[in-house]
Structure formats: C-alpha cells, structure tokens
C-alpha cells in the first residue's frame, strides 16, 4: 500500500512540473531564443516528466523510481541553478538565467523536490526489501 501511495504522489509531482513547464513554454521561447530555445527545452522536460510519471505509475520497479528521481531532481537542479547563476548558452541549451522567484516557478521547484525525494525513498525501500529476501 505504501509503495502505491508513493508512486501516486511521485506521479502527481512530476505531472505538476510538466503542466507548468508546458504553460510557460511559449513565453520562454521568446525569453531565451538561442540554441533550440527555452520553450523547446521546457516542452522536452514536460514530455520526459510525463513519461517518467507514467512509468512509475504503471511499473513501480526500482528502475522506474530511479528514473523518476533523476528526472525530478535534475529539473530541480536546473531551476535553482538558473535562478542564482548566470550560466551562458551551452551548445543548443540557451542561457535561461532568470533572477526571480514567482508562484508557478516556486510550485514547480517544490513539486520536483517532493517527487524527487519520494522517488529516492521508494528506490531505497525496494532495495532494502530485495536485500531482506
């Protein structure tokens, strides 16, 4: 039962992140147009989040928890990095420095932190169960 609750909560966190990224994508294509553009990057992030959410909801394996953790925590790292560090454009990735927090941005960071932490917990719980048997 605990694992099902974890999977649902992780799925919700990843979906919240995906929806907000899709909502902000068109504006960030204008704000960060270099490389493939911030909007395209946001849409890729959203699709990857949705796929990771679907995988953890359907499978619930260690691999699913690991992928959910990687997707959520890498997105969290990116939003925090670009909030505080003026990272230049790197290849196709545009410079997306945005030195301000606002409700949607804060919500996506919280959702990613929440999903990422729960995914790590789920992964560790599955690992312990495997070692106990």
């Amino acid at each position: 039962m605990l694992m099902i609750v974890l999977r649902v909560l992780i799925g919700v966190g990843l979906m919240v992140s995906a929806v907000i990224h899709l909502q902000l994508a068109s504006g960030f294509q204008q704000a960060a147009p270099s490389g493939i553009g911030g909007g395209a990057l946001f849409r890729i992030q959203a699709v990857v989040s949705i796929l990771a959410a679907a995988y953890v909801l359907i499978r619930g394996s260690r691999a699913a928890f690991a992928i959910a953790a990687i997707v959520a925590l890498s997105a969290l790292a990116a939003v925090v990095l670009y909030r505080y560090v003026q990272v230049p454009a790197i290849g196709p990735i545009p410079s997306m420095y945005e030195p301000v927090w606002y409700p949607q941005k804060a919500l996506t960071a919280v959702a990613e932190a929440f999903a990422g932490t729960l995914a790590v917990i789920g992964y560790v719980l599955l690992l312990r169960r495997r070692n106990d048997t």
Partner: protein, 79 residues
C-alpha cells in the same frame, strides 16, 4: 497603456511626456520595464498584475529591457 504578453512589450506609438501610463502584465512571470539609460525609470510588474508609472517629462526614444529576461526589449517613444 503598455501590455506585456508572451514576453513581449506591446506599446503605443507615442506616449505624452509626464503621462501616467498603465502597464498590464498578462504573463505568469514577473517583468520589469527598465530604461537602459542610467537614472531612468525602472518599473516592476508581477505576473498577472497591472501597475502605473509616470512617463519621463523629456521627449525622446527610450530603449527598455526586462531585467529578469534580457532578451525582452523595446523602445518607448515619448513625444
């Protein structure tokens, strides 16, 4: 009235010197209307909010940017 939508400024052709100007931010993200020149105006507009500011008294063309999103730029024409 100046509207900010999809990270772009939509400005009237000209604004009278000293006029009180309404800025409507239709985006979720906050923006600023900041004069590039030193000592110019700097107005912060939260996402979805409307604020007013007083246009400069001196006629001319003022290059503006958003300090949060430097790719956003425009020209405010006072005259």
């Amino acid at each position: 009235m100046i509207t900010i939508t999809e990270f772009e400024y939509v400005m009237p052709q000209t604004i009278a010197p000293g006029a009180v100007v309404t800025i409507v931010n239709e985006d979720d993200a906050p923006h600023t209307l900041t004069a590039k020149t030193e000592g110019g105006f700097d107005v912060d507009v939260s996402g979805g909010e409307t604020v007013t500011f007083t246009a400069p008294d001196e006629a001319g063309e003022y290059a503006v940017i958003c300090t949060y999103h430097p790719a956003m730029s425009g020209t405010l024409v006072i005259g």
